[in-house]
Protein backbone atom coordinates (compact mmCIF):
# COMPACT_ATOMS: atom_id res chain seq x y z
CA UNK A 1 0.00 0.00 0.00
CA UNK A 2 1.35 3.44 -0.91
CA UNK A 3 2.36 5.80 1.85
CA UNK A 4 0.30 8.96 1.79
CA UNK A 5 -0.06 12.30 3.51
CA UNK A 6 -3.24 14.29 4.00
CA UNK A 7 -3.29 18.03 3.31
CA UNK A 8 -6.23 20.26 4.22
CA UNK A 9 -6.38 23.70 2.67
CA UNK A 10 -8.15 25.81 5.29
CA UNK A 11 -8.88 28.55 2.77
CA UNK A 12 -10.63 26.39 0.19
CA UNK A 13 -11.71 23.51 2.39
CA UNK A 14 -10.20 21.07 -0.09
CA UNK A 15 -8.61 17.93 1.38
CA UNK A 16 -6.03 16.00 -0.64
CA UNK A 17 -4.42 12.64 0.03
CA UNK A 18 -1.05 12.67 -1.70
CA UNK A 19 1.43 9.82 -2.17
CA UNK A 20 4.84 10.40 -0.63
CA UNK A 21 7.80 11.06 -2.89
CA UNK A 22 10.83 8.76 -2.81
CA UNK A 23 12.66 11.37 -0.75
CA UNK A 24 9.80 11.61 1.72
CA UNK A 25 9.62 7.83 2.03
CA UNK A 26 13.35 7.70 2.79
CA UNK A 27 12.94 10.38 5.46
CA UNK A 28 9.90 8.60 6.88
CA UNK A 29 11.85 5.35 7.19
CA UNK A 30 14.87 7.09 8.69
CA UNK A 31 12.63 8.82 11.25
CA UNK A 32 11.02 5.52 12.17
CA UNK A 33 14.42 3.87 12.64
CA UNK A 34 15.62 6.73 14.83
CA UNK A 35 12.38 6.60 16.80
CA UNK A 36 12.97 2.95 17.58
CA UNK A 37 16.44 3.80 18.89
CA UNK A 38 15.09 6.72 20.95
CA UNK A 39 12.32 4.59 22.40
CA UNK A 40 14.77 1.85 23.39
CA UNK A 41 16.92 4.46 25.15
CA UNK A 42 13.89 5.92 26.91
CA UNK A 43 12.78 2.50 28.06
CA UNK A 44 16.27 1.66 29.30
CA UNK A 45 16.38 4.89 31.31
CA UNK A 46 12.91 4.22 32.75
CA UNK A 47 14.00 0.71 33.74
CA UNK A 48 17.19 2.05 35.34
CA UNK A 49 15.26 4.59 37.43
CA UNK A 50 12.70 2.01 38.47
CA UNK A 51 15.47 -0.36 39.58
CA UNK A 52 17.09 2.48 41.57
CA UNK A 53 13.79 3.16 43.30
CA UNK A 54 13.36 -0.47 44.30
CA UNK A 55 16.93 -0.67 45.55
CA UNK A 56 16.74 2.65 47.45
CA UNK A 57 13.47 1.67 49.08
CA UNK A 58 14.90 -1.66 50.27
CA UNK A 59 18.07 -0.01 51.62
CA UNK A 60 16.13 2.66 53.48
CA UNK A 61 13.97 0.04 55.15
CA UNK A 62 17.03 -2.04 56.05
CA UNK A 63 19.02 1.00 57.22
CA UNK A 64 21.74 0.46 54.65
CA UNK A 65 23.87 3.08 52.88
CA UNK A 66 22.48 4.43 49.59
CA UNK A 67 24.56 4.90 46.47
CA UNK A 68 24.97 8.42 45.08
CA UNK A 69 22.50 7.64 42.30
CA UNK A 70 19.92 6.34 44.77
CA UNK A 71 20.32 9.39 47.00
CA UNK A 72 20.02 11.72 44.01
CA UNK A 73 16.82 10.02 42.98
CA UNK A 74 15.28 10.71 46.38
CA UNK A 75 16.41 14.26 47.11
CA UNK A 76 17.23 15.48 43.60
Amino acid sequence: MALTKIIVNCETGVTEEVELTAEEIAQFEADAAQAAIDEAARQAEADRIEALKVSARAKLVAGETLTADEAALIIG
Binding site: I7, V8, N9, A35, E39
Partner: protein
Protein backbone atom coordinates in the same frame (compact mmCIF):
# COMPACT_ATOMS: atom_id res chain seq x y z
CA UNK B 1 -13.99 32.43 24.91
CA UNK B 2 -15.46 31.75 21.53
CA UNK B 3 -13.95 29.16 19.21
CA UNK B 4 -14.65 28.64 15.54
CA UNK B 5 -13.90 25.42 13.73
CA UNK B 6 -11.52 26.30 10.89
CA UNK B 7 -11.04 22.82 9.40
CA UNK B 8 -10.97 19.17 10.34
CA UNK B 9 -9.55 16.02 8.85
CA UNK B 10 -10.25 12.32 9.33
CA UNK B 11 -7.88 9.62 8.15
CA UNK B 12 -9.39 7.11 5.76
CA UNK B 13 -8.78 3.43 5.11
CA UNK B 14 -5.12 2.49 4.93
CA UNK B 15 -3.99 5.30 7.22
CA UNK B 16 -1.75 8.25 6.46
CA UNK B 17 1.74 9.38 7.46
CA UNK B 18 0.69 12.94 8.34
CA UNK B 19 -2.16 15.43 8.62
CA UNK B 20 -1.43 18.99 7.50
CA UNK B 21 -3.47 22.19 7.71
CA UNK B 22 -2.37 24.76 5.14
CA UNK B 23 -3.46 28.33 4.32
CA UNK B 24 -4.55 28.89 7.92
CA UNK B 25 -6.57 32.14 8.03
CA UNK B 26 -4.80 35.00 9.80
CA UNK B 27 -8.00 36.41 11.27
CA UNK B 28 -7.99 34.84 14.74
CA UNK B 29 -6.08 35.57 17.92
CA UNK B 30 -5.18 32.03 18.96
CA UNK B 31 -5.29 28.55 17.46
CA UNK B 32 -6.31 25.33 19.16
CA UNK B 33 -5.64 21.86 17.78
CA UNK B 34 -7.61 18.89 19.05
CA UNK B 35 -6.28 15.52 17.94
CA UNK B 36 -7.78 12.11 18.49
CA UNK B 37 -5.39 9.60 16.96
CA UNK B 38 -4.00 6.10 16.93
CA UNK B 39 -0.78 4.98 15.34
CA UNK B 40 -0.34 2.19 12.81
CA UNK B 41 2.73 1.07 14.80
CA UNK B 42 4.77 2.32 17.72
CA UNK B 43 4.04 -0.53 20.12
CA UNK B 44 1.70 0.57 22.89
CA UNK B 45 2.44 4.27 22.38
CA UNK B 46 3.74 6.42 19.55
CA UNK B 47 5.15 9.92 19.80
CA UNK B 48 3.14 12.69 18.20
CA UNK B 49 4.95 15.65 16.62
CA UNK B 50 3.88 19.08 15.39
CA UNK B 51 5.75 21.09 12.77
CA UNK B 52 5.10 24.77 11.97
CA UNK B 53 5.15 26.24 8.47
CA UNK B 54 6.99 23.13 7.13
CA UNK B 55 10.03 24.69 8.80
CA UNK B 56 12.74 22.23 9.81
CA UNK B 57 15.54 24.79 9.70
CA UNK B 58 15.51 25.51 13.43
CA UNK B 59 15.44 23.58 16.67
CA UNK B 60 12.14 23.88 18.47
CA UNK B 61 12.22 24.11 22.29
CA UNK B 62 10.07 21.83 24.41
CA UNK B 63 9.72 21.19 28.11
CA UNK B 64 7.44 18.42 29.36
CA UNK B 65 6.59 16.32 32.31
CA UNK B 66 4.83 13.04 31.93
CA UNK B 67 3.68 9.84 33.55
CA UNK B 68 4.17 6.42 32.01
CA UNK B 69 1.77 4.45 34.13
CA UNK B 70 4.67 3.36 36.33
CA UNK B 71 6.83 6.44 36.89
CA UNK B 72 6.92 10.18 36.33
CA UNK B 73 9.57 12.03 34.34
CA UNK B 74 10.38 15.45 32.98
CA UNK B 75 12.25 16.22 29.81
CA UNK B 76 13.67 18.99 27.69
CA UNK B 77 13.83 18.93 23.90
CA UNK B 78 16.31 21.28 22.28
CA UNK B 79 17.46 19.34 19.25
CA UNK B 80 14.21 18.48 17.49
CA UNK B 81 13.03 20.23 14.34
CA UNK B 82 9.45 19.84 15.53
CA UNK B 83 7.63 19.81 18.86
CA UNK B 84 7.18 16.54 20.74
CA UNK B 85 3.53 16.64 21.87
CA UNK B 86 3.61 13.42 23.89
CA UNK B 87 2.22 9.99 23.16
CA UNK B 88 -0.89 8.64 21.58
CA UNK B 89 -2.15 5.08 21.33
CA UNK B 90 -0.10 2.67 19.24
CA UNK B 91 -0.88 -0.52 17.38
CA UNK B 92 -0.57 -2.76 20.43
CA UNK B 93 -2.80 -0.57 22.59
CA UNK B 94 -6.22 -1.96 23.36
CA UNK B 95 -8.18 -2.31 20.12
CA UNK B 96 -10.14 0.72 18.97
CA UNK B 97 -8.56 3.08 21.51
CA UNK B 98 -7.31 6.50 20.44
CA UNK B 99 -5.09 8.99 22.24
CA UNK B 100 -6.22 12.57 22.85
CA UNK B 101 -4.07 15.67 22.43
CA UNK B 102 -4.81 19.38 22.74
CA UNK B 103 -2.50 22.19 21.67
CA UNK B 104 -2.96 25.92 22.27
CA UNK B 105 -0.99 28.31 20.07
CA UNK B 106 -1.55 31.89 21.25
CA UNK B 107 -0.91 34.97 19.12
CA UNK B 108 -0.03 32.88 16.06
CA UNK B 109 -0.07 35.85 13.69
CA UNK B 110 2.21 38.00 15.86
CA UNK B 111 5.82 38.95 15.21
CA UNK B 112 7.26 37.30 18.32
CA UNK B 113 8.49 33.71 18.60
CA UNK B 114 5.55 31.32 18.66
CA UNK B 115 4.78 29.58 21.93
CA UNK B 116 2.42 26.73 22.69
CA UNK B 117 1.13 24.59 25.52
CA UNK B 118 -0.09 21.06 25.10
CA UNK B 119 -1.42 18.07 26.95
CA UNK B 120 -2.00 14.53 25.82
CA UNK B 121 -3.00 11.10 26.99
CA UNK B 122 -2.68 7.77 25.29
CA UNK B 123 -5.44 5.30 25.87
CA UNK B 124 -4.63 1.70 26.72
CA UNK B 125 -6.35 -0.65 29.13
CA UNK B 126 -2.99 -1.59 30.64
CA UNK B 127 -0.41 0.12 32.81
CA UNK B 128 1.63 1.30 29.84
CA UNK B 129 -0.27 4.49 29.04
CA UNK B 130 1.14 8.01 28.99
CA UNK B 131 -0.10 11.30 30.42
CA UNK B 132 1.78 14.31 29.11
CA UNK B 133 1.84 18.06 29.79
CA UNK B 134 4.21 20.57 28.31
CA UNK B 135 5.06 23.85 26.68
CA UNK B 136 7.13 24.73 23.68
CA UNK B 137 8.45 27.39 21.36
CA UNK B 138 8.85 27.67 17.61
CA UNK B 139 11.73 30.15 17.44
CA UNK B 140 10.59 32.11 14.41
CA UNK B 141 8.84 35.46 14.16
CA UNK B 142 6.83 34.60 11.07
CA UNK B 143 3.08 34.05 11.33
CA UNK B 144 1.87 30.47 11.52
CA UNK B 145 0.28 29.53 8.19
CA UNK B 146 0.53 25.74 8.28
CA UNK B 147 0.65 22.95 10.85
CA UNK B 148 1.73 19.37 10.19
CA UNK B 149 1.02 16.50 12.57
CA UNK B 150 2.88 13.21 12.29
CA UNK B 151 4.04 10.39 14.53
CA UNK B 152 6.98 8.04 14.80
CA UNK B 153 4.95 4.87 14.79
CA UNK B 154 4.34 4.49 11.09
CA UNK B 155 1.53 6.98 10.60
CA UNK B 156 -2.04 7.53 11.67
CA UNK B 157 -4.58 4.74 11.69
CA UNK B 158 -7.96 5.01 10.02
CA UNK B 159 -10.48 7.19 11.90
CA UNK B 160 -7.78 9.36 13.47
CA UNK B 161 -9.01 12.95 13.45
CA UNK B 162 -7.66 16.47 13.92
CA UNK B 163 -9.67 19.64 14.43
CA UNK B 164 -8.26 23.15 14.08
CA UNK B 165 -10.08 25.94 15.88
CA UNK B 166 -9.59 29.70 15.88
CA UNK B 167 -10.20 31.85 18.94
CA UNK B 168 -10.92 35.57 18.83
CA UNK B 169 -10.07 37.77 21.76
CA UNK B 170 -13.03 39.54 23.30
CA UNK B 171 -16.34 38.44 24.67
CA UNK B 172 -18.39 36.24 22.36
CA UNK B 173 -15.77 36.42 19.67
CA UNK B 174 -16.02 40.16 19.17
CA UNK B 175 -12.73 41.68 18.15
CA UNK B 176 -11.38 44.15 20.70
CA UNK B 177 -8.43 46.45 20.47
Amino acid sequence: MFQTLISSVTVGAGGSTSMTFTSIPQTYTDLTLAVCARSLGGGANATLYLEFNADVSVFYNGRSFFGTGASVFSGTDTSLVQINLGRHSGSSSTANTFGSTNVLIPNYTGSANKTMSFDSVSENNASDAFQWFGAGRFPKTTAVTSLRLFDNGGGFAQHSTAYLYGTLKGSGGATVS
